[in-house]
Amino acid sequence: MAMTATVGHAHADPHHIGLVIEHPGPAPKRIVTAYGFWVFLLSDIVMFSCFFAAYAVLSGQTAGGPKGSEIFEQRNVAIETVCLLLSSFTCGMASIAADVHNRFWFYLGMAVTCVLGLIFLAIEFNEFADLIARGYGPSRSAFLSSFFSLVGCHGLHVSAGVLWLLTMMAQVFAKGFRADVLRRMMCFALFWHALDIIWVGVFSVVYLLGGSV
């Protein structure tokens, strides 16, 4: 519904949902901020869809190099997936703790999220380093170029997310659960959950579908 004030009773129920609302004025800042961040996340997902499209087109173009099934290790991917999934859960716990102003559970949830994110990054970094050491770097074939750019872009997002997570802990430590800090925490939680959604696409399309080719 409208984020601006509407005048008159006729516009109070624009979708005819039987819920007449007298608009008190502009929406609260928490809603506006989170909505703007939601739009950013959707545009980020659109950007990822371009990388997914490139991977889908180029996954067969191995130029004599390795195929997906020869270089992917399902066990590592499963561990990475569980790490990200659990970190999404602990991030949710941390945001609940932030809403009820409970410092202990907030720090604990954020710390566990951070550790799980770092484990994910370490496994991914090892995988990349191993591939490059075997001569299967991004310049080997179009398939590997698209693989490294898609998975690497997600990894960069997770790295940025871990940095953001640490700054959120520092902000709560220094400023407490102020309204602006809580808004940032909310945006961070949205970001972290969105990264998990993108990872669902990555492990399904890249590792499981691409590994069976």
Partner: protein
């Protein structure tokens, strides 16, 4: 814009915000989401490696499972619902999905046809020489 900590939203919900629930109910929501997501993930990994099912169905099954899991994440973690207080969030999501499907679907469709209609690379190289 007012700058209050947590305004009980009377008519709109921010993405990620839930309707007013107790802490216990919110935790249960996350636990249910985590259980469903783990179940779907385990199924995906099992399907990908098994020969119990008809092999050509595996890619479709993986895509369906992935979309289902994304839905679980949206509902239980991002709290995007179909409620009237979520209209803005759902409309933005719908537009985002439209663009995603246009980009991915259109690319796969067009590039697949171009690839099928292109002569093999070694023939192109021969005609150049």
């Amino acid at each position: 814009m007012s700058d209050q900590a947590h305004v009980p939203a009377s008519h709109d919900l921010a993405p990620g915000d839930e309707e007013q629930h107790s802490v216990g109910a919110r935790i249960v929501g996350y636990v249910v989401g985590l259980a469903l997501a783990l179940l779907l993930t385990a199924t995906s990994f099992f399907i990908a490696g098994t020969d119990l099912v008809w092999q050509p169905s595996i890619p479709v099954a993986l895509i369906v499972l992935a979309i289902a899991q994304m839905g679980v994440h949206l509902v239980f973690f991002l709290h995007i619902t179909t409620g009237p207080d979520n209209t803005n969030n759902v409309l933005a999501l719908a537009f985002g999905l439209l663009v995603v499907f246009l980009v991915v679907g259109g690319t796969v469709w067009i590039m697949g046809h171009l690839n099928a209609n292109m002569p093999p690379m070694d023939q192109i190289m021969k005609t150049r020489m």
